[in-house]
Subunit: 565 residues, 3 copies
């Protein structure tokens, strides 16, 4: 079983003191109880540090290959690093893993994740279980006169301030937890599938949906007639995109039903919030790229209304946050993925033109322009206040291409001509494309993540703009450019597809634990926070676990006594 | 009478020491002399602090209901809070108020405000009186060997650095003095009407002038013919706006004549300076909205020249300050009211089109665009360096709507068509309107001020742009939007009118003391600054006051001696 | 001879301790050896400080009148300040100057500048000389067990980080070394001509090339026919501009061949890097302004390709640096001379229109627009993070005019009409022109430098735009404006020409030592850095110098012994 109750965590600032065995026994007992709690952050004070260090060494050896098909899976603990000296702790960890692999442990492990559950579900559970728990188990911590009751709920359910995300996370997508940070869920366990399913998965739909449009344009555009692309490719891609959109939507809806708190945390995440635009943009892509044989002359405006409404509401929210100060002001949160919140306007404008509502398209285009301007300048300045901006170039920078390309296509769609404005935006996109391509070596060395799919659609959009341009200026160079851009974007999407399939079915590492949603609400530094966590961690768990836990703790203390000598 | 020579001021960091009566006597004598001086900031050192605290308690009970019709008025000192214990100081304050209500005290009270007088007037006064004063009254402070002569003049007349305004003031309009700050004029007295008459009053003219244009457009626009608005409304509003503009201008001209130093301080105020554009914009509004029956086909270009010249000169000054660094650089002073400095260009462009000088209008439009761009991006970024930006949303944010609306109308006026550019700006304004309307609850809970009038004209401008758009795109939706925006702006202007009348004639609190102009030039912290102030405060006052003062001081010390025991 | 081997440098934080003669002797010996090394930064520790101070006094009396015609020249050491007390050090300095004026000293002086030589040259030299040097001269510093071998090369050849430039330099062009900074080359010596020849000299070509275009436009534009300008002026100016471009290019090519490291340092200089656009813009100016009698109807596109390619590559580099973070991000390096990196696009667009490649011109125009927008907003905001922005206005601010003017002309050229876009840009340029002209007194009091030439072409560009506008709107005012702007720009160019000739041939101060390229890579503060420098300074020098140096040192120590008493 995946759960290793000794739960070796990453601890820093450790030093090597002589380890006394009795101290370690006490510590161990405490740890065993703790690790089965929801809390993970435990900092051994004083003499236990040598022990800590040993455990830390072990944690690095856990394989990151996390199974896809189930939340539980086989967790492979490779204790390579624990051969020197005091390997007893490790041995215990293993044995406990064995002991814990009973049926009862699945229940207790599940407890970890309850805090991210939709509140109504938790409420129901708590109402039924809490009284009995309180009667049967006198909580030693609460007995000390500290209330500490609403802790865990508070920790999760209150919105995490933006500053916390910046403080606790790092990386261009703010998806990696800083070393010194504790998280609410166990790092060494495979979380439930839905908890590991990020909103970034809609990026796959963006990538495939835009490809469907691209191949539709390649097959229908008079300028690209010379390549004789079959419209069936468009059809196949569109169906694939639709299928994936449906599956991702279903999965995310399930997450919404079961783990609404996790979704709230994704929503408050300064980078992730932009990905909430992705589903609607993907829908609009599908509506724009609907195969000609099924498409009516004009789509019904209701389609546009249905897809643009959430985008518009999100925009009012996000742009309002930019403007109204606080931690989410533009000069702090601006990052390349913010382009996703702008590009929706232009895609909406294209769809508006397609359903015949030109004025609505112009409205969206104007909104898009105003905010693109702010975002473009802000990103180009790379203000030092911007905490979300990656230090180095990263695939996310391809987002820079998306917005001007989409603006170009949208202008063409709503005003009916590829005039100076369209060209200006297209050429800006082209220059940014060049600018990123010549820095291609900056992009290497990053770990694949499913969010990368979102970074493919900008190239596709640029290709589409190039095709529109080639229609307007039909010369060898423009056609060649359109074709090569199209091929490049298709090649990259194919590469992504293969990578994704490999990660999903071969390496089974497509959905690693989504650490970014499990950060603690406050930086728990020092003993104060630790105590608070300890007290708060005594909730939401049923009696059985406690009973079992005690026995586990006993077992571990016995083993510890043996090995500590 | 209003003047209370004991002048209890707000002091902070006081602590309660035992108060010795003789110390207090000395202190009191000093205070009495001081309070009749121009200086107000007095920090009692050492033993007098208990006394201070008592006085402070009293100041909170002064009513803020300040009479409108006269600068002197009946000031109602409600000494509710001074019943416990040592109420003698307060009694003295009252009695002195009674004593001071002789004809001579009006002179001495006037002395407070002399420092804001136009210099020539002061100069004349000084020339005649200073020699005699110097002969007759040996100044004890100056006798200590400190020159300290040009102090008061310096304090007021030298321009206050921008940093001081940011440091000493707060609030979205930088109109409230921070608690720990002293000001040059007595807070508990009603200042002369002209000193309380801020430049923001021209906002009333902006609001009414734009309403006149709006109702003119409603009555004449073919798109809005279905509502059948009588042109007489336009006429009536225009006359009202004209009347108010004339009265406000007369009042402000008087302020300019008598209290030029106060106007200089308003000019150096980082937020207020933008309101110096308001009179000229209001004039241009009147010129644009002149009722058709009186209007010639084309207004004479001289009108445009007369109104745009001050705007242009101010712009050279203000934009130059943005660019040339220092404390008034854009990233520091940018705030929503800065839009007033940009919108003038677009209004000027509209008027230029009306007088037939299209190219001049295009020139203004270009200036406006360039600076609008900078301002828009800067405000949207909410740079952390911007000290003038309100923390929360505030009615001043409606300014965001004004500039794109005006840009849209202006483009239509000068280029003759409501094309993509016009639409883009109109739609940007519309989105910002939505964005602010959905945050309407942010706007509640603010104290009414006359500056709010300035925040009504953006809505009117948006309504005008909506009417222009409805002329171009005549459909049910666009007409409905134009009508509802017009009604909303009219409703708000009516509300403002009622509020203003109530504040002016019922509550008599339309013009509270304009604290923002009376901040000290330097943060007077510690004894050093106090000494400096003490020495600087011995100027500009005539002999009679001094003689009287001595007797007053004697009276007070006698009374003090009685009550202190 | 110019070289003064005792090399008095500016030292700070010196205090006056009693100077012991034997200590001084040792110090002196050390100094003499050191001063002939490449390193200049020497901080005497301990007892030698009094000595230091004396030397410092002397350095201020060196005349700044540096001869143009040769790198060596007559250097006038005016030892006015060294009469009191211990003038022996100075006497020695003089005498050593005399001793050093042998043929051998030219060699050793040359050693200073070897570090900026092209590496292949140094490499060849080192290969031949280093072994013998190593055999013959046991290095006392290296004997102490410190490797310290690759120091000097590292110091120079590794790119200096942008932060260092900001830290070590000041002034609006970052061309003055801060007082507390040491530099690698002797300040009191005239450096070789090529080392003193900055990239800013291409500004002369910009100024003259744009004048040629202007006078061509004046002679050929129908709107300006009333002034009847002879086309010969254009011809003469064009030939002059061509001649100067050729000479400057030859000189800079020589610098490139001989002192490539100096060019690298100019390239990494945050302000200077923008001047690397100047040669290509100057070439494009010449291509645009080619006299009509020689010009074919359409230039060959190859010309455009040849001139735009380096601009494009530089842009990819520079804009990439803006975007990709680090010390060269836009919010840090933005300064008015950054306009040079944008204006190239617009000039390239004009040339593209002239060679008939309209679409390429539109591409460049779009790139220019996007980056102009970012730059304009950033400069207008005057972000506090921008370290390169001059505190006060400076001639460099005229750059603000260049870009919108060029954008206006370019739009007219590529889209064939002076429409709203052209006008908007033209009017923006006009307003900025006004805005700077009214602040003309800010521009006084600056030392002339050859970089000022770059600041003349913006006015010429504005004049050209005014002529284009006068062609479109032919009225008295527009023609008058075009004429007066043209005359003003010509007047300023004439003034510059006279100044330059005076500086070059009369005052012989056109090319002072280019201190900005000689800053040390690290702030050498304290003894650590000093030691490092000391050790690093033992390289790149040939044997003969060392031998001579020992004798010189001996001489100086003898003299010192005499005078120290």
């Amino acid at each position: 079983m995946a759960s290793t109750p000794s739960s070796p965590k990453e601890h820093h600032f450790v030093d090597i003191h002589p380890v006394l065995s009795d101290d370690n026994d006490n510590l161990n007992r405490l740890r065993d109880r703790q690790s089965s709690d929801a809390t993970v952050n435990f900092r051994a004070a004083g003499d236990g540090k040598g022990r800590e260090r040993r455990l830390q060494r072990n944690v690095w050896t856990f394989s990151r290959q996390i199974p896809l098909e189930s939340g539980i899976g086989v967790f492979d603990v490779e204790n390579k690093g624990s051969v020197e000296g005091e390997s007893s702790g490790n041995a215990k960890g293993k044995s406990l893993g064995g002991v814990g692999a009973t049926g009862g442990d699945a229940d207790h492990r599940k407890g970890y994740f309850d805090m991210f559950r939709t509140k109504s579900a938790i409420g129901a559970k708590q109402n039924s279980l809490m009284p009995s728990w309180k009667e049967n188990e006198p909580d030693p911590d609460n007995a000390e006169g500290v209330p500490g009751s609403a802790g865990a709920d508070d920790r999760v359910n209150k919105s995490v301030p933006a500053g916390r995300y910046f403080a606790a996370l790092r990386g261009p997508e703010l998806d990696q937890v800083r070393e010194y940070e504790d998280i609410l869920l166990p790092k060494d366990e495979v979380w439930p599938f839905l908890l590991r399913f990020p909103v970034g998965c809609f990026g796959i739909c963006l990538g495939l949906g835009s490809q469907a449009i691209l191949w539709g344009a390649l097959s229908s555009s008079p300028a690209m007639a010379f390549v004789r692309v079959s419209p069936n490719i468009n059809l196949a891609l569109w169906l694939l995109a639709l299928a994936i959109l449906v599956s991702v939507s279903v999965a995310y809806t399930l997450k919404c039903v079961f783990y609404f708190e996790a979704i709230r945390r994704e929503y408050f995440h300064p980078v992730r919030v932009n990905f909430f635009f992705a589903p609607w943009i993907a829908c609009m892509f599908l509506a724009i790229g609907v195969p000609p044989r099924w498409a009516p002359r004009h789509l019904h405006p209701a389609i546009w209304c249905a897809f643009i409404a959430p985008v518009f509401i999100l925009e009012l929210k996000v742009y309002g946050q930019w403007l109204s100060g606080g931690k989410r002001r533009l000069c702090k949160v601006a990052n390349p993925s913010s382009h996703l919140s702008v590009v929706g306007n232009f895609v909406g404008a294209i769809l508006a033109a397609k359903v015949g509502w030109g004025e609505a398209g112009k409205f969206l285009w104007a909104i898009g322009l105003a905010h693109y301007l702010c975002l473009f300048v802000t990103l180009y300045q790379r203000l030092t206040t911007s905490q979300a901006l990656p230090k180095e170039l990263h695939p996310v920078y391809s987002m820079f291409i998306a917005t001007p390309s989409a603006a170009s296509i949208a202008w063409h769609a709503i005003y009916g001509e590829f005039d100076a404005v369209s060209r200006t935006f297209y050429f800006i996109a082209l220059f940014l494309y060049c600018s990123l391509v010549v820095r291609i070596n900056f992009f290497r060395g990053f770990k694949f993540s499913v969010a990368w799919w979102s970074y493919t659609f900008p190239m596709t959009t640029a290709s589409l703009a190039a095709i529109r341009y080639a229609e307007e200026v039909t010369c060898f160079f423009s056609k060649g450019l359109a074709l090569s851009l199209s091929l490049m974007s298709s090649a990259i999407v194919s590469l992504m597809l293969v990578s994704t399939l490999l990660h999903a079915f071969v390496w089974r590492s497509l959905f690693p634990n989504d650490l970014a949603i499990a950060i603690t609400k406050d930086r728990s530094d020092g003993a104060k926070a630790q105590d608070k966590e300890k007290k708060a961690s005594k909730k939401n768990y049923d009696l059985k676990r406690w009973a079992k836990q005690s026995s586990l703790s006993l077992v571990s203390s016995i083993r510890r006594g043996h090995s500590g000598d």
